[in-house]
């Protein structure tokens, strides 16, 4: 059995256990009720999305530095998976926002930063589509990923001064008990499941991209 198959099985198992426990074991949150369970998708998605974009950023630097195609493939795969999870974060956030804030969308700092992050990396993927597949495409995309990633702290600072409504981060807050224990453990478990899913999607996407490029090369040689 290959590595990716083991990873796939582990992901399926972890997701199944997580979803079972979310609906059967995890207690209802007192203030928000049933709708709060969307947190187990929302929070892991956003963390996976950050991890993915960070990998894309590091791999892009690696590509410009070492010029190994592997870095480019990793950056492409990571940003594509990252965009999916970023979109998932925005959608689940909107669904969660409707009953709790009484609005699907609001121009809050975190929401806005996430949206702009999403747009930057959608632009990155579009650039990949519009430039012919080549070493040039890899260079250009790497520059966008690096510039885009460097912009995030500035964007975040700017929109924070602009306006803020989102609850502060529950996970990394230092203000002590912001979240009950069972909910916290449930969240940790769903995070593990989502990171496994991310790792699985990433390896699959990298394999696919490699195969696709190999095919391109063979076709080019045949002509």
């Amino acid at each position: 059995m290959g590595f990716s198959r083991i990873l796939g099985l582990a992901t399926a198992l972890a997701l199944a256990v997580t979803f079972y426990l979310v609906f059967v074991w995890a207690p209802l949150e007192q203030a928000m009720g049933f709708v709060q369970k969307i947190m187990y998708i929302h929070v892991p998605s956003v963390l996976v999305c950050y991890a993915a974009f960070f990998i894309a950023f590091l791999a892009s630097i690696g590509y410009l530095w070492k010029r190994k195609e592997g870095y480019d493939v990793a950056a492409y795969a990571a940003s594509e998976v990252g965009v999916i999870f970023c979109g998932l974060t925005l959608v689940t956030g909107a669904i969660w926002g409707r009953p709790t804030w009484n609005t699907y969308w609001t121009w809050d700092a975190r929401l806005t930063t996430t949206l702009i992050l999403f747009l930057i990396f959608v632009g990155y993927l579009l650039l990949r589509r519009f430039v012919e597949y080549s070493e040039q495409q890899a260079r250009f995309a790497a520059i966008i990923a690096i510039i885009g990633f460097m912009d995030i702290p500035l964007i975040h600072q700017a929109v924070t001064w602009w306006r803020t409504l989102h609850q502060p981060s529950t996970m990394f807050s230092r203000k002590g008990q912001m979240i009950d224990d069972p909910l916290k453990w449930m969240l940790y478990l769903s995070m593990v499941a989502f990171y496994l899913l991310f790792a699985y999607l990433l390896t699959k996407r990298i394999q696919m991209e490699r195969a696709e490029r190999e095919l391109h090369r063979m076709l080019a040689n045949a002509e």
Binding site: L64, I116, L119, I120, V122, G123, Y124, L126, L127, F130, V131, Q136, R139, F140, A142, I143, I144, I146, I147, G148, M150, D151, L154, I155, Q157, A158, V159, W161, W162
Partner: protein, 223 residues
């Protein structure tokens, strides 16, 4: 390096001034945008005071885009790009020359745009001419740095007219927010004092992306 930079700057400015149509097109485009805003927004003077900064900077962004897209187009059409790249000058000098050319171009446009803006949209603006020009210089620097990098990057790309704004505008969010806030402060009669934090953010943005664009430009312009 400085001499190379000045040569390129001089060449670009000479070309721009001799073929004035670019400049005139940009100017009339900004007048048309101001007209569109005047028609589509409520006509009373009070509303205009709160809308004025946003209208001004959106006009700046839209007409600035025209200035950017012509940046490398000329080199492409005449086949000068290869000659420029073969020339024994650093890529950094090419970048700085192009960037300063865009900056001068933008500032010339602002000098005309401010009176036109005060004539068509918000009459008190003329009273703050020099503050606005100073703010425009700081804003245009960030815009020109990122804009030159990205317009160099998209020169060869299909659908570059659409791709350039898609890539550029999300990255410029902090710049736009800061410029709008500082301008509101200026219109409130407090000069730059009112929004010092925003000014720091704006200057920080300029420095970070001037350096980042200068460094990554090498990778855009590989033969």
């Amino acid at each position: 390096m400085i001499a190379d930079l000045l040569t390129i700057l001089k060449k670009d400015l000479t070309l721009d001034l001799r073929r004035a149509e670019n400049f005139i097109a940009m100017l009339f485009f900004s007048v048309i945008i101001l007209l569109v805003f005047s028609f589509s927004l409520p006509p009373d003077e009070e509303a205009h005071q709160s809308l004025a900064p946003g209208v001004y900077w959106v006009t700046f962004l839209m007409s600035g885009m025209l200035g950017l897209s012509k940046n490398f187009q000329l080199e492409k059409e005449m086949g000068c790009m290869e000659a420029l790249l073969i020339a024994p000058i650093s890529r950094g000098a090419i970048f700085m020359g192009k960037m300063l050319g865009t900056l001068v171009f933008l500032l010339l446009m602002q000098m005309i745009l401010i009176p036109v803006f005060s004539l068509l949209f918000y009459s008190p603006a003329m009273g703050f001419f020099f503050e606005l020009l100073g703010l425009s210089a700081v804003t245009a620097l960030g815009f020109a740095s990122l804009g030159t990098l990205l317009s160099g990057l998209t020169t060869d790309v299909r659908f570059k007219e659409i791709l350039l704004p898609i890539l550029l505008f999300p990255l410029l969010v902090p710049l736009l927010l800061a410029a709008v806030q500082i301008m509101s402060g200026i219109f409130a009669g407090q000069g730059f004092q009112a929004e010092l934090d925003w000014l720091k953010l704006l200057v920080g943005f300029d420095l970070i992306f001037l350096i980042a664009a200068y460094l990554t430009f090498d990778f855009v312009m590989e033969l």
